[in-house]
Amino acid sequence: MSQLVIFSLLNGVLYGMLLFMLASGLTLIFSMMGVLNFAHASFYMLGAYFGFEISRRLGFWPGVVIAPLLVGAVGAVVERYGLRRVHRYGHVSELLFTFGLAFVIEQLIEMFWGKTPADYRVPQSLDFVAFRMFGTDYPAYKMFVLLTAAGMFVFLIAILRRTRVGLIIRAALTHPNMVAMLGHNVPRVFMLVFGVGCALAGLAGAIAGPALVTQPSMAADLGPILFVVVIVGGMGSLAGAFIASLLVGIIQTFAVAINLSLSQVFGSTAPPLLGDLWAVTVAQLAPIIPYVLLILVLIFRPTGLMGTRES
């Protein structure tokens, strides 16, 4: 039993940290620009494919460094020449723009790399067993993902809380007009934040690609859950995104481990009309639990766990 608990916890934290790497960028963009970036998970996918392509030519480590920078550059260009123009026509246009962008990126990736999963491998230097517990291995690569995500969290917090750039970003979050009045170039701040947000997603992709699977549907698989994290955590709140990511990750992995169904709790005879529902286990419900959480949060705490404003 303790074996299951410990490994579920490890797996949950890992998944949560991965979610956080994406959600941190998304929540910053969301709160600053008011744009729900539907293409955010696509930048994650782009990071995985760039990482794959570079690792094929130059090796894994250059890939992990260059891929996020490339994705960040793509993000900045998208903001500068796409979003900024669309911005004039209001949020709905921006939403539609990012929505379309997600499809374009997916199609482009299919054209360049095909529909079959890319053979993006864990590098030799990390392909060993980190530790062994209760006869189950825990791969070193997963430890690497965990540590990278944790490092990124510390780095982001440090920038936002301790630097002048962070000060301006935090000010632009709440009072964009006032920041502009003070002579700061708010559009450039927006571009930077969008670019950095995309780069973070790219980094997540480049290191998650080998651990999970690098294929054209990876963005669509992860996209919806990101919005859950951002809304549950509270818009614009990095700490909130962190907590919500871990929460969603851990809840989902633990739900998988639980075989309990209504019939076990209340006896095997189902009331009329509830026949199928009666036998469904918590494990089968695991994928929808985050969405239930989303609905509950929206009803009872619309600002999210750590958010300060509604909208």
Binding site: N11, T116, P287
Partner: protein, 411 residues
Amino acid sequence: MKSAIVGCSLALCVFSAPALAQDTMKVGFIDPLSGGNAAVGEISLNTFRFVADELNAAGGVNGQKLEIVPFDNKGIPQETLVQAQKAADQGIRVFTQGSGSGVADALNEWLRKYNDRNPGKEILYLNYGAVDPALTNAKCNFWHFRWDIGSDIRMEALSSFIKNRPEVKKVYLINQDYSFGQSVQHFAREMLKEKRPDIEIVGDELHPLVKVTDFSPYIAKIKASGADTVITGNWGPDFALLLKAAADAGLDVNWYTYYAGAVGGPTAVRQTGLADHVFEIFEGVVNSAPPAAQKFETDFRAKLGVGLFYPRSVNELRMFAAAANAVKSNDDIKAIAYKLEGMSFATLDGGEGYIRKDDHQFIQDLFISSLGPLGANDKFDEEHTGWGWKQIAKVDKEETLVPTTCKMQRP
């Protein structure tokens, strides 16, 4: 000017389309060509095109060339019906589909209605992969023929094999949560109980279809259950990712699978390092197949760069062509369907197979093979892993017969 050119070319398309339609015998291929299972769909489309080329080189069907027309259903039942209608509107009278029993159920139901309403323009449904037993039992339909091995038949063969493997003591079932996965679960429980009552089922899992990206939580559960054997019907990414997570955690069990050989499967098995621990029930074993099948495999690999995963597609299209040639018509779909009923045919992997008249299921010899390093005389490895299939057992077609509840309504 530009628009004039576009206009012209559009007009050309419209006028030339009907002319083309008469030149070829079209088969509508309705399967996912985008989304999570696109990889599977793409490879089976290429397989059909390869077989069509082979048949066309030999003169086609009644003098007409076979043409495979792809329709992307994204793996979704609703989209399938849209695409089916589109294909029907183009005058296509033969459909083939294989990825996903949920899709197959929807298509089968749509077809039943369509054929009732359009007598004389019926559409034939050649199924190369949807193995839900309902299609040949409660929901059987005169216009539906299946070349893949029904889920019940596979488990019948697999459980007969497990009967003589005393090392199997604790079994864990993990399957995709939809009609096919549930049928594997159901038959595994039922047939193991009958043939090996001493086997303990220590876990029984259904997980969402093509949604899970990391199977580590499930592997932790299997590990905790103390299982020595896992039975799974998983296919495509769901199989590859399951094995990948098992390899990461160092899970050491025997795997009895339906689809270990499908796209990405062998690569994942190779990563686990579990030589001869992954078994598959299949209609052939390429490394011990007759020379004709090995020749086909060699040509296939030379052209497409992957191993043949759909011998059933080869059997299907060849047999359909033979039936159409026998009735000397490509338009009399009803006659072709009657011809197919009960028809015998030499399968690609050797031996005679036949369509069972009662439920339109293709009956053939089955093989159990395991994946491991190639033997000295083995020619074919899978997905460039250096590992290939070895035949472990053969199950004669008579031993695979499972009774059907189908009451076939013939027009």
